[in-house]
């Protein structure tokens, strides 16, 4: 039991410090804009019972605790007032204020609040948390977890599909796994502009950065900042530093590194990536990335990803991630002729054979469609099983027994890789 006003003040100070820490963390938290978008200080109290990332990051937990502390203090004050002074009216006013605050707070996260991000994207809380888990694991480079979480999702959506494919591509498994997941989103047909949802802009940033196009990665990061609350998005500011480190634009990189150095969450990262003081791991990562950047000197009027992918491959034929995205985009669009041309140019002619069941199955369609001679079949099809299975498929064309093959996709499945 508290005895005098100094002790209440002391509790108030402790509560204030906790809140201050929470606000501080919120500002620096990689996903701070999710909270800021909701225009609310505290995180969602009932996501305590099923969030994915609370066990991993302290920020939201502290926010939630601080909310509880405030409720406790506010709830306790009326009791003291009644006990000490008997002023029931004042006590009731405070209790009413607490209840109204709680109702408003609950409203902010309710389906009635159209601005709450999960509902903006037509996602339930549960789906939103699962989507964030996929996005978050990609951010931390845990590609296997991205794939696992996407596979476990109850209602897969385009964000999960996109990161599932990007994580597979990072592991060199895109052609092996693209047909195993719906929706089959690659992002290569999306364009970004002033009407694009910020989540898509952020995804495109991740795609361009992974592919090696630093100009468009920077453009998407800038655009994401433009449309973020207060024009700041810490995750994208970090990306801007990375982009400029990869591009070897030290002055620009230092601009963002200095900015990040003022934040407690990113200051260590910023110091470890400062040119001249870079740690070995960071240097290796940047230098590896630098090998794959676009070295062409062309001018592009739009974000046509095919042009970007071709320029990246012309700049560095070893960019397998760009190659897989190019070939898989052709295949998802069912443009077999374009796929064959690209396969010839970037694989056959350069001796860079990408041996994958998906590509072999697609080549079989082209060869069959053009009634290619035996020598052509032998030249392109290195997996004897593919020829055998293709014969079987043709005798049961469209059979669900062949679901998961490119032939089945080609004949029966909708192309849900959309232009957005």
């Amino acid at each position: 039991m508290l005895k005098n006003k100094y002790e209440y003040i002391a509790i108030g100070v402790v509560a204030f410090v906790i809140i201050a820490i929470c606000v501080f963390l919120e500002v620096c938290y990689p996903y701070h804009y999710y909270w800021q978008e909701q225009n609310a200080l505290f995180s969602d109290i009932y996501t305590l019972f099923g969030p994915y990332y609370y066990y991993k990051y302290a920020g939201p937990i502290l926010q939630m605790l601080s909310f509880l502390v405030i409720l406790l203090i506010l709830g306790y004050v009326p009791y003291i007032i009644i006990r000490k002074t008997g002023k029931k009216v004042l006590a009731n006013v405070i209790i009413t204020a607490v209840i109204l605050s709680d109702i408003y707070y609950t409203y902010l996260r309710s389906p009635f609040n159209e601005e709450y991000r999960p509902y903006q994207y037509g996602l339930s809380h549960h789906d939103f948390e699962q989507t964030l888990s996929v996005e978050t694991e990609y951010y931390f480079g845990n590609y296997r977890k991205v794939i696992d979480n996407a596979m476990k999702a109850d209602n897969p959506n385009i964000v999960m599909g996109f990161y599932y494919n990007l994580a597979n591509a990072q592991l060199g498994l895109l052609p092996d796994n693209i047909l195993k997941y719906d929706p089959k989103e690659l992002g290569t047909l999306w364009k970004i502009g002033e009407d694009t949802p910020i989540a898509v802009i952020n995804m495109m940033n991740d795609l361009y950065y992974a592919l090696g196009d630093m100009v468009y990665a920077e453009r998407a990061a800038m655009m994401s900042c433009v449309f973020s609350p207060n024009n700041k998005n810490m995750k994208m500011l970090k990306r801007l530093a990375e982009v400029n480190l990869v591009s070897a634009d030290t002055l620009a990189a230092m601009k963002y590194l200095r900015y990040l150095a003022y934040t407690p969450i990113y200051s260590k990262w910023a110091k470890e990536h400062t040119p001249g003081k870079m740690k070995d791991g960071a240097r290796l990562s940047i230098e590896t990335k630098r090998k794959y950047i676009n070295k062409q000197d062309t001018l592009r009027l739009g974000d046509n990803c095919r042009t970007i992918l071709i320029e990246l491959l012309e700049s560095n034929p070893d960019n397998e991630l760009a190659l897989d995205y190019l070939l898989c985009t052709d295949l998802m669009l069912k443009e077999i002729g374009t796929f064959k041309d690209d396969y010839d140019h970037y694989c056959m002619q350069r001796g860079n054979i990408r041996l994958s069941v998906l590509y072999q199955q697609a080549l079989a369609i082209f060869l069959a469609g053009t009634e290619a001679p035996k020598e052509e079949w032998e030249r392109y099809i290195s997996m004897p099983d593919v020829v055998q299975e293709f014969r079987q498929y043709n005798s049961h064309r469209g059979s669900e027994a062949f679901k998961g093959t490119y032939w089945y996709y080609f004949d029966k499945e909708d192309n849900n890789t959309k232009r957005r």
Binding site: L2, K3, N4, Y6, E7, A10, G193, E194, D213, M214, V215, Y216, E218, R219, M222, M223, C225, V226, F227, N230, N231, K232, L237, V243, V246, S247, D249, L251, A252, M254, K255, R258, Y259, Y262, I293, N294, K295, Q296, D297, T298, L299, R300, L301, D303, E311
Partner: protein
């Protein structure tokens, strides 16, 4: 919980605050080791020339592991000590004004001591030249993300350069998050100026002694509304370009964004009779005309002109000449002869942009770049200054940097100009000021000082289109909002 005595809390609080003050600001160097080089400071104020009426040049010392700094500025018997944090030196504005007024026309020296790992070292002092030429007291600029392709939450601000006060004169909040463009004075006069709010409900917001008129300065067959515009000296005419602007992206990361025109013409608006004047030379369909400005005597229009070539393949051949055509301010009659003042063929950097004549008519300041019409993203963009009497050109080596230096405007006394430079990071334009003495010699420019020296490190907006004004503007962002929402735009006819 232990009972706490009120006086004990108060005492401890006072002691803690005093300790903080002593640690942060008052630690005087002892056992100092002299270092024979200047400190690395930001902004770089070493060797610059500043006007006698400038706000305190607060700066930060960029040195790893410094635990304290101590900064003294002195000259002509006046000495002031900056309030210092671990890295920032902040001068008291009253002390600073006293120091500058006592040193007008001479130099002050700044001594910086830095404490690292318990040891003090004193760097070689650096000097700052205090010019008795004052600069116009107000600066307007647009704050925008450096991307320029998209925008959100734009603001046009007015800043007093004699102190740190700043206010919005057009704010995204009150104009529906619309795009807004450069604020432009007539002869640096705050009582006649305009800015542009784009999109539905927008228009040219003309400030005449604080009254805001909304103008639709566009005729039916123009490719766009006014893009680059300037007043005539008598304030009756506004010369402006209409530009069909195409943004594009370079594949090479070092080049980033490119913006070019596929069509552009120049017109003159009569803001008394709401008429637009055209001229066949200024709307030549075989050429691109842009960046118009009047001479201070009103007898000429300077502008840039290039052959209209198929884009995008000929972009690096898009070279703008600097041209001049006569104008009669009394009648609004435009001449019939285009005189080339700076030929793109003769210039090492081949394309000229943004000509601006000094108010005394002596100098023509312009930007040169390798090609194109968007020097903001051309790192090679530099300023050049021509003495109009002799035709001699100064390449302004002391002014320019390895990054884009462009978009300049003059102070009313022709002794200063401000320009947007990306020298610090290649990304964010910042307002730098340059002194031009009576012989036309330019000095090392200095960055607009801020109340906190760390401001620019934490700032994520470009200072776009800086313009100097003699006094405070007589309108507010609310006045612009009112005109935007409640006024119908006055139309113009050809």
């Amino acid at each position: 919980m232990k009972h706490l005595d009120r006086h004990v809390i108060l005492e401890h609080t006072i002691v803690a605050i005093m300790l903080l003050i002593v640690v942060a600001c008052g630690e005087k160097p002892s056992e100092v080791t002299k270092v024979d080089k200047e400190p690395t400071i930001y902004p770089d104020y070493s060797g610059v020339t500043v006007p006698v009426n400038i706000a305190p040049l607060n700066f930060m010392v960029r040195e790893d592991q410094s635990s304290a700094i101590y900064v003294v500025a002195k000259g002509n018997g006046v000495e002031i000590v900056a309030d210092c944090t671990r890295e920032e030196a902040i001068f008291d504005i009253r002390d600073w004004k006293k120091l500058l007024s006592s040193n007008a026309g001479s130099d002050i020296t700044i001594t910086v001591d830095v404490k690292t790992e318990g040891q003090w070292k004193e760097y070689k002092p650096f000097s700052i030249r205090i010019s008795s030429d004052s600069i116009d007291s107000y600066l307007t600029y647009r704050l925008i993300e450096p991307d320029y392709e998209v925008f959100s939450r734009l603001q046009i601000k007015e800043r007093c350069v004699e102190d740190f006060s700043e206010r919005s004169i057009c704010d995204y909040k009150s104009v529906g998050n619309r795009c807004m463009n450069c604020h432009t004075y007539s002869n640096q006069d705050p009582n006649l100026s305009f800015l542009y709010v784009r999109g539905q409900g927008g228009g040219m917001m003309l400030n005449q002694n604080g009254n805001i008129r909304k103008l639709n300065v566009k005729a039916a067959d123009m490719v766009s509304g006014a893009v680059y515009a300037q007043f005539s000296p008598n304030g009756r005419w506004i010369v402006f370009s209409t530009n069909k602007i195409i943004p594009a992206f370079h594949a090479a990361p070092s080049k980033r964004l490119e913006v070019f025109d596929t069509k552009s013409d120049i017109y003159i608006a009569d803001i008394v009779n709401n008429k637009i004047i055209s001229n066949p030379i200024l709307e030549d369909s075989t050429r691109l005309e842009t960046f118009p400005t009047f001479s201070p005597d009103g007898k000429s229009i300077y502008y840039c002109s290039a052959e209209r070539l198929p884009m995008v393949s000929n972009l690096d051949s898009l070279q703008y000449d600097l041209c001049r055509i006569s104008f009669d301010e009394a009648t609004g009659v435009v001449g019939d002869y285009r005189e080339v003042i700076v030929s793109s063929q003769k210039n090492e950097k081949n394309s000229v942009c943004h000509p601006r004549v000094s108010p005394d008519g002596k100098y023509l300041l312009y930007t040169v770049a390798n090609y194109g019409t968007f020097p903001i993203w051309h790192p090679e963009s530099d300023l050049q200054m021509m003495e109009l009497g002799s035709g001699e050109t100064d390449t302004l080596g002391v002014v320019n940097s390895a990054k884009s230096d462009t978009y300049h405007s003059w102070s009313s006394n022709s002794r200063w100009f401000v320009f947007a430079s990306k020298r610090d990071d290649g990304m964010y334009g910042k307002p730098y000021f340059c002194h031009v003495d009576e012989r036309g010699k330019a000095s090392k420019p200095f960055l607009l000082p801020q109340e906190r020296a760390t401001f620019y490190d934490k700032n994520l907006k470009s200072f776009n289109a800086p313009e100097l004004g003699k006094g405070a503007l007589p309108f507010t962002a609310e006045d612009i909002a009112k005109a935007f929402k409640k006024t119908t735009a006055e139309s113009f006819s050809l």
